[in-house]
């Protein structure tokens, strides 16, 4: 298992064996593996000719063939990339480039093709970086998660061991922003198997474009965020997703009732819930749902399942000892998928990783417990646990009851905050226009003890999202000030 065997060589074989078949469908245009290979070769020439021989390059992200080709050109040259999004503020881009110390940036590189450079491989170690993804840091300075060639190779090996199979006949959807790591899974599974990647162009209403790709292009495989399906749910009756043979739901907690409704239009589809922090390379656990069967869930949220093949998982108490039975604790993960650490951030590295019995683990910050079946049940973020009047309150439970009140048609977020008296209170945000809150509170009172009833209920027409397209809890929390 290494980066060449698991990533680069399979892509080279796809190019050699399927040169006339489609590698990409981007904004209405098909591009063959031959065209893709020519762009990779042309961009390798640009990298080699750079005045400064830097190990990490900036990559300006566009929904175009050159951006995808740039990723492989850099990897074949033994280099790494750091994604830079054109829509980001200049200060953020400057801050990232300065932190990484890179001056070279590939930006829609359209250098002419002058010859094949596919059989020439740069020397690289498995510990060399493949990419660095910057996410918002609590201090306001973006923090970079480093992923090595070993991490990506281990991920790919784990992925195929889940039993999902992709063939050259498959049409695979890539709906994620390239700054978000599920995009890496989305293009790698297709390109390493000679299949075609169908992307969602920028500036499109994503869930509608994805729906039209599924229906009109006959997508057979794709990863999506549950929120995309939430928006499509009112139209499930007229939506035919029967072309899909497998579908991954990821990036946020996955409601069980949404999945069961999704089966109605994804008639031939195996559905999987994949979970994982960027720090453990895209995914680290998965759960395969049973159509028409009993699916494990907690507070209406599907189990995150069992660890992937190259991931070791433990659940620990606050004191660092392992939990017993079905006791809740923090999920920690180890193995070849776990990042070597945050870019030049010793403070964060010393608090986020620890060694136990000679194994290095990452603190996920997620509150979980072991189900007797060996599956992991997800109970929310640790920081979503609050103590109210001495009682331990799980915000996920409040959200579950509020969602049930709204018949799962609205998103809700519960947030614990300190009031002026420095006491902890709970606020509940509802994604809707403002309305009378009395019926909701009356319902919640029938479900939960008094101390769990939110003291503030706020309506937001649309929840703010972070770059990973998850609800931005911090932005909501700021509205409480």
């Amino acid at each position: 298992m290494n980066f060449f065997e698991n990533i680069l060589n399979p892509v080279r074989k796809s190019i050699a064996n399927f040169s006339d078949r489609n590698a990409f469908y981007i904004d209405g245009t098909f591009y063959s593996y031959k065209q893709f290979a020519e762009r990779v070769s042309a961009i390798r020439g640009v990298i080699r000719a750079a005045e400064k021989n830097e190990q990490i390059w900036g990559l300006s992200l566009h929904d175009d063939l050159n951006t995808y080709a740039s990723i492989f050109a850099l990897w074949m040259e033994g280099k790494a990339y750091v994604p830079l999004h054109p829509s980001w503020p200049e200060e953020r881009i400057a801050s990232i480039k300065q932190q990484v110390g890179c001056s070279n940036v590939l930006d829609a590189c359209d250098a002419p093709y002058t010859g094949d450079l596919l059989d020439d491989w740069a020397e690289a170690s498995e510990d060399d970086l493949a990419y660095i993804l910057f996410t918002s840091g609590s201090t306001g300075v973006p923090k970079g998660v480093q992923l090595t060639r070993r991490n990506i190779a281990a991920f790919m090996d784990s992925f195929w061991k889940t039993g999902i199979d992709i063939t050259p006949e498959d049409r695979c959807m890539q709906v994620f922003d390239l700054t978000f790591d599920v995009s890496v899974q989305s293009y790698l599974v297709a390109l390493t198997r000679g299949a075609c990647v169908y992307t969602v162009p920028y500036g499109q209403v994503k869930y509608l474009y994805a729906a039209s790709l599924i229906q009109e292009q006959g997508i057979t495989f794709g990863a999506m965020a549950p929120s995309m399906l939430t928006y499509l749910r009112p139209y499930f009756e007229e939506f035919d997703a029967s072309s899909m043979k497998a579908c991954i739901l990821t990036a946020e907690a996955c409601p069980v009732d949404l999945m069961e409704a999704w089966y109605g239009c994804a008639k031939n589809t195996e559905i999987y819930d994949f979970y994982g922090p960027t720090e453990a390379t895209i995914y680290c656990t998965y759960y395969k749902l049973k159509r028409g069967g009993e699916n494990l869930s907690l507070n209406g949220i599907i189990s995150i399942g069992k660890p992937l093949a190259n991931v070791q998982a433990i659940i620990i108490r606050e004191d660092g000892n392992l939990v017993e039975g079905q006791e809740k604790g923090e999920l920690c993960v180890a193995g070849d998928q776990v990042t070597p650490g945050y870019w030049k951030n010793e403070e964060k590295n010393s608090s986020s990783f620890f060694v136990r019995d000679g194994v290095r683990y990452y603190h996920t910050g997620d509150l979980c417990y072991w189900h007797e079946s060996g599956n992991i049940m997800y109970s929310g973020r640790i920081d979503q646990q609050a103590k109210i009047q001495g009682f331990r309150v799980e915000l996920g439970e409040i959200e579950h009851h509020a969602r049930t009140f709204y018949k799962n048609e609205r998103r809700v977020i519960a947030i614990a905050f300190q009031n002026a008296q420095n006491l902890t209170e709970i606020a509940l945000f509802v994604e809707a226009q403002a309305e009378d809150t009395k019926p909701l509170i009356e319902y919640l009172r029938t479900q939960m003890p008094a101390y769990m009833i939110p003291t503030r209920i706020l309506f937001e027409p649309t929840f703010p999202l972070n770059k990973s397209e998850k609800v931005d809890r911090n932005a909501l929390k700021q509205k409480l000030n």
Partner: protein, 80 residues
């Protein structure tokens, strides 16, 4: 309603839902031209259009829209 009146109504809905009074819509406007017009706000825009105009869009219709003009085509057809 004339096409101009529908455009004005849709523009008014955009102002309210996206909380930005300075948005100017034309028949050629696309989601790329309006930064606040995202996947998420789209669902909200649709819901307000449907309730205020007393119409219902199909998924197939929405998937075919390339710009505001095509939204207006759908509304015009439904209002007869």
């Amino acid at each position: 309603m004339t096409r101009e009146e529908i455009l004005a109504k849709v523009e008014d809905i955009f102002h309210r839902v996206l909380e930005n009074q300075s948005i100017v819509l034309s028949e050629e406007t696309t989601a790329e031209d309006v930064p606040e017009w995202t996947s998420l706000t789209h669902a909200q825009l649709i819901s307000v259009m449907e309730s205020e105009l007393n119409i219902k869009f199909s998924l197939r219709e929405m998937m075919s829209w390339q710009n505001v003009g095509e939204i207006i085509n759908s509304i015009e057809k439904k209002l007869g």
